[in-house]
């Protein structure tokens, strides 16, 4: 059980950092949202794994459910912002949007 927990914890941490790295280098807002989703997946998996191997996992499960629903809400708002930005500027490239704003 300890090895399971370790593998899942390492995977969750890895996904978290891959997502954050991808958000920071992404040149497309849609890609940023997808990277954010990967970050949420990593956080959920790490939270879930941290509660494994103990009698009651209710605490970690509660946090994961909360994280899933908050992550989904944030993502929905982000997608709505993307639609508005695309209608206004016609592009999803942050550099291009910054240039057009001037």
């Amino acid at each position: 059980m300890v090895l399971d927990q370790t593998i899942l914890l390492a995977t969750g941490t890895g996904l978290l950092f891959v997502g954050i790295g991808s958000i920071s280098v992404s040149k497309n807002l849609l890609k940023s949202i997808m990277s954010f989703q990967v970050t949420v997946f990593g956080a959920n998996l790490a939270l879930f794994a941290s509660g494994m191997g103990f009698g009651s996992r209710l605490l970690s499960d509660t946090f994961v459910v909360l994280s899933v629903l908050v992550g989904a809400s944030v993502e929905a708002v982000g997608l709505a912002i993307i639609v508005v930005v695309y209608r206004k500027y016609g592009t999803l490239n942050p550099d291009e949007i910054r240039r057009l704003r001037r």
Binding site: G19, G21, F41, G53
Partner: protein, 158 residues
């Protein structure tokens, strides 16, 4: 030993689908890979005894969010994704491997024992259980806030 094999397979599947989603330059491929990532995550939760959490993850991410992403792709008409400097994206993978390795070593050497939730730490966090009915209220407020934000974003531009 069998459960460790399952964990390793699930971890490999997750990394493979995430890499496919983030490194693909076509939107459709990214969406499909992300859909499979959600499914694998749900399967992982279910395999480790939490069917409800797996179901919630699959319904929320593989169901609702995938359709939402697809709708946005159809609205914007984006077909190609520019994922920035490829070198930086590729550099993120070894970074994640290093961090994963360090956490593995830390866990096995016992230095990270404080990471684990123990009974005493549950005692410290027991105030959360006295506030359980507030969980639902928080979720309702978050959802309502998100809906209001989306309506005002999409409806207030005319």
């Amino acid at each position: 030993m069998e459960s460790e094999l399952i964990a390793a397979l699930l971890a490999g599947g997750l990394f493979a689908t995430v890499a496919a989603a983030l490194l693909s330059s076509k939107v459709s491929n990214s969406l499909i890979a992300l859909f499979y990532t959600s499914i694998i995550l749900g399967v992982a939760f279910t395999a480790y005894g939490d069917a409800l959490l797996g179901l919630v993850t699959m319904i929320t991410f593989a169901g609702a969010i995938s359709v939402l992403l697809l709708s946005v792709v159809l609205i914007t008409g984006e077909s190609k994704l520019d994922f920035g400097p490829r070198r930086l994206v590729v550099a993120a993978v070894p970074l994640a491997a290093v961090i994963g390795g360090v956490s593995l070593v830390a866990l096995f050497s016992g230095q990270a024992g404080g990471l684990a939730v123990t009974d005493s730490s549950l005692g410290v966090l027991s105030f959360l259980w006295t506030l359980r009915p507030w969980d639902l209220l928080i979720l309702v407020v978050v959802f309502a806030g998100a809906m209001v934000a989306i309506i005002s974003l999409l409806g207030g531009e005319d």
